[in-house]
């Protein structure tokens, strides 16, 4: 009797088993960061992946077309660093933009500031998509 009570008590305090780290739980977030939505596509969530891709890429490209500014790693200022973190979330889009020397920002356009924010938000939304792809990979989400 005493034993069964102790057993029940230990069951409650026992930590939940760690989620299995499989190949997909590493691959999906990595690919999802590089290409928005790809983390969902490789897990056969075609429509979700496509919608994420279209949303994030459109937001980023619109930001560029609005003459938005891209942040670099060595900004110095704390806000520049935060901007860099946001931009870097866009993965390949950010890398290509840097490599092509786009996103210099045009002060002449009043909408350029909107564009800068569009690109940062696109990167931040991709971080959320990456987390979602990971949750699907470990079975926490369908």
């Amino acid at each position: 009797m005493a034993n069964s009570t102790t057993e029940k008590a230990t069951d409650k305090t026992k930590p939940a088993p760690a989620e299995a780290v499989n190949m997909m739980s590493v691959l999906a977030p990595a690919l999802g960061w590089l290409i928005p939505g790809a983390g969902h596509v490789i897990q056969k969530r075609w429509i979700r992946g496509l919608l994420l891709f279209v949303s994030i890429v459109t937001l980023f490209v619109l930001g560029l077309a609005m003459q938005g500014r891209i942040y670099k790693a060595n900004g110095g200022d704390i806000l520049d660093m935060l901007g860099f973190i946001g931009d870097a979330g866009a993965g390949a889009l950010y890398i290509v933009t840097l490599a092509a020397d786009w996103g210099q920002g045009a002060i002449a356009f009043a909408t350029a500031d909107y564009g800068t924010k569009f690109m940062i938000v696109a990167g931040l939304l991709n971080f959320i998509a990456v987390a979602d792809a990971y949750h699907i990979a470990i079975g926490k989400k369908q």
Binding site: R48, L51, L52, S55, I56, T58, L59, L62, A65, M66, Q67, A106, F109, T111, Y114, F118, V121, L125, I128, A129, A131, D132, K141, Q142
Partner: protein, 60 residues
Amino acid sequence: MTITLNHFSAATVFALFASIVFGITHRETTREMVRYGLYCFVMFLGGVLVAGWAMWLVRR
């Protein structure tokens, strides 16, 4: 190529794409995703309109 959007159209585009991502990532079933996405979209645009009118009132 340069695209020039006014404040409201920029906010609408932003709300649309952010809502799609929020809907997909924050809910489990397709139905819930659509409902939550629509909810976010309405809240984004509603917030823009409320803030716009509030600023108009403050300015007067």
